[in-house]
């Protein structure tokens, strides 16, 4: 994966954005999957519990933070993590070496989330569920999650994959099973909608 650091010429007034970019580079480095995930999966296919433990430590928090903002229910999100890990344990032998382990793991997780959301739509609406932001978090974060839940499930999913999990366009396309162009378009609209919601609030967004 190629990464580049660019130094803009002096006249550009991008200092605020670039400061954010450079400050955050360490965050991005931490979220990109490591190379030996493949060997972990091979060991898991051979029923190595220690390898499973390592994979759990590596992915469980990431998966929970991917599932929780989509499901708005911590218990359900934890159950999804457990189900995903069990599916990995049972299906590690079927992992195709050509694809990336992180893409495969998150692909399983998103299927589990999808199943839950479909089941839930039949049973209860999302509005009736407890709010994600009820954790004594700062006001800006509370507002972010309040607006985030107004997005469609597809928009929530793609924003979490790109903005939090740090996946590339190709990885997201592989995970969702759609062309890269669709991923770009969906992410573009999701970002614009969330930005509009955050700037204008829900009522102004409905009036647009």
């Amino acid at each position: 994966m190629l990464r580049a650091v660019f130094h803009l010429p002096a006249p550009f007034e991008l200092s605020a954005g670039l400061a954010l970019l450079t400050d955050s580079s360490s965050l991005a480095g931490a979220i990109v999957g490591s190379a030996d995930d493949q060997s972990l999966l091979r060991r898991i296919a051979d029923r190595d519990r220690q390898a499973m433990r390592e994979l759990y430590d590596r992915y469980a928090d990431r998966l929970l933070r991917f599932a929780y903002p989509q499901l708005h229910d911590r218990q359900e999100a934890e159950d999804v993590v457990q189900e995903t890990m069990l599916a990995i344990w049972q299906g590690a032998g079927t992992f195709r070496q050509a694809s990336r382990p992180s893409t495969w793991v998150f692909g399983i997780c998103r299927n589990k989330i999808g199943e839950r959301l479909r089941r839930r739509r039949e049973l209860q609406p999302l509005d009736g569920l407890p709010d994600l932001a009820a954790h004594g978090t700062p006001t800006a974060t509370v507002e972010l999650w309040q607006q985030f839940r107004l997005l469609s499930p597809e928009h929530r999913e793609v924003l979490l994959l790109v903005f939090h999990q740090g996946f590339s366009q190709e990885e997201v396309a592989e995970m969702l099973g759609v062309p890269v162009g669709t991923v770009k378009s969906r992410t573009f609209h999701a970002r614009r909608r969330l930005q509009a919601l955050l700037e204008g609030g829900e009522q102004r967004e409905r009036g647009l």
Binding site: M1, L2, R3, A4, L8, P9, F12, E13, L14, A16, G17, L20, L21, D23, S25, L27, A28, V32, D46, R47, R49, M52, R53, Y56, D57, A60, D61, L64, R65, P69, R74, V81, Q82, M85, A87, Q90, G91, G93, T94, I108, N111, L132, H135, T137, T141, L144, L160, V162, F163, H164, G166, F167, S168, Q169, E171, T187, F188, R191, Q195, L198
Partner: protein, 147 residues
């Protein structure tokens, strides 16, 4: 003449907006550091002369950081998460097979009667013919025999 000028102006305006749209669709991956070097170069060359895309870039990076930090602040998995999972990872035929594979040569070296080891080898060989179900494809396409 007027028509030509209009067409030329329209061509310039539409090519500019197409370039802006292309750049703005790239911004999330510039923000999350996974865009290719040539894509980053294209974005920065464009924002050098386009105020609107420059504003969008700054906004995207700010949103990326805000969402990333908010998600990182969410609670982690419970401390007993692994214990719950470990309890669910029951020994399977494959796991028992692995134990046998590891211990059979040692048992043979220790002088276990050949009839017993042959029986265990036979059991292992039969155990190898097990069914594995893929989670990627529909169930009816997934049944494969693992040698």
């Amino acid at each position: 003449m007027r028509g030509d000028v209009f067409r030329l102006c329209w061509k310039v305006v539409s090519s500019v907006s197409e370039a802006c749209e292309q750049v703005q669709r790239m911004l999330p991956w510039v923000a999350n550091h996974t865009a290719a070097a040539d894509e980053v170069a294209e974005v920065y060359l464009h924002v050098a002369s386009c105020q609107e895309c420059r504003r969008q870039l700054v906004q995207t990076i700010a949103l990326w950081r805000r969402l990333h930090e908010a998600a990182e602040a969410l609670p982690a998995t419970p401390t007993d998460g692994w214990d719950r999972l470990a309890a669910a990872l029951t020994p399977t035929a494959g796991e028992l097979d692995l134990v046998l594979k590891r211990w059979l040569p040692a048992l043979e070296a220790c002088g276990l009667p050949p009839a017993v080891t042959r029986l265990l080898h036979l059991g292992r060989a039969l155990g190898d013919q097990r069914w594995a179900v893929s989670i990627d494809v529909p169930l009816w396409q997934t049944v494969t025999v693992r040698a």
